[in-house]
Symmetry: D3
Subunit: 241 residues, 6 copies
């Protein structure tokens, strides 16, 4: 039995608030159970320095990058504010960036940079996958705000949708969308990022001080695919509003 | 005429959401017009290292410290994430800490540290004074959660209430509670922090590339006192809920 | 009775040595009682990067910035040399910069940067206000050395003089120009920066773990104005040499 | 056709030199084709600070941690020396540490820390997986040197062997053990870490600016398992010397 | 002919002001020509952490360490403030520390640390050797202030005196005590540190983009010994005051 | 008697492997007894920023710089990986750079930078001098690879050879090429860098907590010259292969 009585293949309740503060063109407050992440998508009309150096004036390629942090008050006890993204945050923000880039046609973004900022307001497990799911909605809103200024204003630079979810094995049982108290007891932890077309963007399966069999791997993949298909339904409902 | 048609001595609309995410014992989302700050108050059962070194076992003195940051997506264009507080953030978080400490009886807090985290979700002027006003509400909620564990559980360690507001001179006219577009044009900028009993905690009046007369100083003080008395009414309404 | 028998409204003995080492065009060793600060004003024929980026070739606007540090041997016991300016130093050097900029016509400085370096050789209270008072003399000497190269060589880019002093309430009594042992016991601490024309540049009144009434505020302002008018007399005597 | 005429499921030539410099108790120079990594395993008789704080005197639990860096001369053109691990190095060293910890019985290591240092002498693709494969051999040598001092000297604290390999999809074709020029052209990149018993420790499959189907995932897993079984044969040959 | 008409084996004019600010127990302003260094010697009743860890309660060994910085205004044009010592400053402060430690009986200092701070107020060549010569005087004054508290109050912990000077080859001619404009043109640069008893503490001879013969080495050593013997005379005169 | 039965004027066994990994154009693994250093020489077709700023298009001057680090596993117990080069590493890499620059005709190198990376694989004393001796061989190989592209392809930009060795006084006896256990007991430590033509590039003689007489200085110089002449023979044998 799971602490909140969920079934093993059941997601937590997902809520989405688009345009939450209105400061950035994409600004989404997404929550899954007690986990809440503020996902902002900002756009600057400039390439990052490493791209700018080599870009020709006629190039239409842009870039997307992501930052991830947990606010100190997002956990109890409080998490110290860290000087630099620590190892875990570095990994997560690289994952968020890669995941979103894989569905954006950077070649038609124009010489601009999209910044995705995922700031965790409350952390109860699954912050990295929820960040990806929420950031995609913010990204869509942000790109909508510059659609007219794109090199090809009539084409979408978003090639597919993206959502992500966690799965894991706790006490030998594969379950979907782990909360924090499940996560700390998990023998195996897997994060799955997929496209709306059902293709994988990223799979990360880790057994910290444990290992997993091929059969368990397949069970986790099955759970993940089920969860992600539900997330896409939620994303779509949101976007149509 | 002010951009949002306010009178010169009129505050922006203030909204307060207590227990916003529920992670920290005090967790307040406060907004004034378009400015929004998430104020968390967390408590750790440990003194900061510099106090711990010199504390005797029977000492009942505690500490309160504050951190202030702007989320990157809180402004448009986006603000670069600075994990270390820059000069401005350093000044502000020191001000927040001093202001709240002046109404807390640290001697009866017990050997613990209260962390105030003010994370600006949207910045449209007045973030430092709004942080103080909101943080005081979060502080009260947090202390309520440990009231039973205090050295003297029957006494309040909060000696008075605190609120803060800005005033300034724009185009020669003294006005209250400046929004961002007023702030950048201000000749003189003043931040005032006061207690519920009507005493000053802090006055900072600054003329960047400008100066001000004694008469203007008095006008700004009058505006500030009026605004703060309204903020105390709002705080009280909130606290009674 | 004050430790050095001063009257409550009496400054410490002020001494000024212009051209102290001769390395920088402005180089002033100023002391107030046991507090001694070396104030250097250096000029580089280049804007700071953030201004340079946006400056047109015909722009005549320059910049002035300040740095403040305490030498490790300026206190007993020794102060550790800090990697970066700590919170206090950051606040102080921003105050010094703002104060001097408010009397310089940056628009007629030409595309150059004036660096004010205030290095405290001995710290016995009042280092920030003494830094401002001394730095103004160094600034005048430095600008004199480039007067011929200014966009308008016949006009002064220094619009007014600047001096600063501290006042505070110790054991309930308002006093002027606090030494270190008075400062640590002060209930209220105020720093006042004014122009020769009698206008305020900056007022910072702080009650650390204390508060102050409107009447006390006015008493401190009166003390400050008296002290500053004497400092202007001393500055003028110096400049005429 | 692969650049070095390998078959799609063929490893590069693997060479292993144990006790390469003799400074650390485990010191292995491992190479796969042109990629060469120096893997050192050092042991200190002290827990890391975060464990030490909470360890009881009778606890027998130890720790293992890993660091990964590329020497500047390991690539052409030269890679700038980064003393702090960048995002990529952070990810890799966390992966190495997790992978080795999953086969070490930390509970019976005693209050000591094993440091795994993987310094890449030449980088031609697959440095992270080769680091794991080589570090396991160094780890075994290092633990052998303290076997007598372990809490249970008659039991092995190494529970299983570990090896790792990369697989990827290049021009639509799944291949094993990518060299650098294959890696930069890969649509999908997968790193697989397994135990000698055939269980997974870690799977990381990434489509940077690309995605992959379920069928492709299975093909990559099959390649990886084949490569890893060969690496175990090589490790065993080495260990018996 | 040298720029200031000195003979090739002639020192610049040396001035010494003991107890310059009075904050630290040793506080010497020393100048050689236009070069001026403030040398402070402070004493803390605590060992540095790395010594403290291994010190037994009855140990009487202390430590001496040095820091060296150039104030930004010490050069024209201004030198950027580097809070961390750069490569050059690191070398110099290590040299100062080693030089003074070689004449102090650390074993009889007691468990305390002497901090030598050499802050260059004006830099015109020879700052590192002048720092050593001045710091020795400050060190003597500082130790005098704790002579009564030493483990053996009747014995001197200063075993010999120390002074240092530079010599170099400019346009093929060996000269003593180079000023800045000589230093930048020098083919060979040598710093010599000696004891009052005529023994070497340190010799550093460097040919940047040049080399020197054995004969030239001997000529430089001869110049250095002559200069240092004069510096000892000056030190002694000072100390007797 | 020395620990390894060497005579007082005898070098340790020197081995040299040119083209060790093949990644950089110069890549030498050099060892002296148990000390082993990997010396890489890489070439980038760009000046360092500080030179680039002032270089005219027709300038043919280049630069050479060096970095030195010890791998964590090069010592037992392990050396912590340091964030930045510490004071010792900073000194050493500056010495290596100066020494090699003194025999390179930078004026005919073209607008490129040579990076010398000396990474110590095993540290048993004499790492800095062995780095210089090995780096010179790597430098020659690297320059050979660009000889055709030099401004004057028919002239050598290497003006002379360079080698270095240590000497020291242990228990009152001057000895050559100290191993680690000799080095820690040395009263005096000297590093000597010379050219093939028998001229000095650098002499650094240091008495940490000790001093040395003029006679001892001469004995150390004699030992150093003998050792260096043997190193030149070894370098030459290598280069002719």
């Amino acid at each position: 039995m799971r602490p909140d009585n969920r079934k093993n293949d059941e997601l937590r309740l997902i809520t989405v608030q688009r345009n939450f503060t209105g400061a950035a063109p994409g600004c989404v407050l997404i929550s899954a159970g007690d986990t809440a992440v503020l996902c902002s998508a900002s756009i600057t009309e400039e390439l990052p320095p490493w791209m700018k150096r080599n870009a020709t004036p006629e190039s239409t390629k842009g870039w997307l990058t992501a930052e991830y942090r947990m606010l100190p008050g997002s956990t109890s006890p409080r998490t110290s504010r860290s000087d630099k993204p620590d190892g875990r945050a570095t990994e997560i923000q690289r994952l968020i960036g890669r995941s979103l880039r894989s569905v954006v046609n950077l070649e038609q973004l124009g010489q601009r940079t999209i910044y995705i900022d995922c700031d965790v307001l409350r952390a109860d497990g699954g912050t990295r996958t929820l960040s990806i799911t929420g950031a995609f909605i913010a990204l869509k809103d942000a790109i909508l705000s510059i659609q007219d200024k794109l090199p090809k204003p009539d084409e979408s630079v978003i090639l597919d949708s993206v959502a992500a979810v966690s799965a894991g094995i706790v006490n030998g049982v594969p379950i979907l969308d782990l909360s924090y108290c499940e996560d700390v007891n998990a023998e195996v932890d897997m994060n799955i990022v997929m496209t709306g077309a059902g293709r994988f963007i990223e799979i990360q399966g880790t057994g910290e001080e444990a290992t997993f069999s091929e059969e368990e791997l397949q069970q986790l993949l099955t759970l993940g695919k089920k969860g992600i298909s539900e997330l896409f339904r939620i994303q779509q409902t949101q976007s149509n509003r």
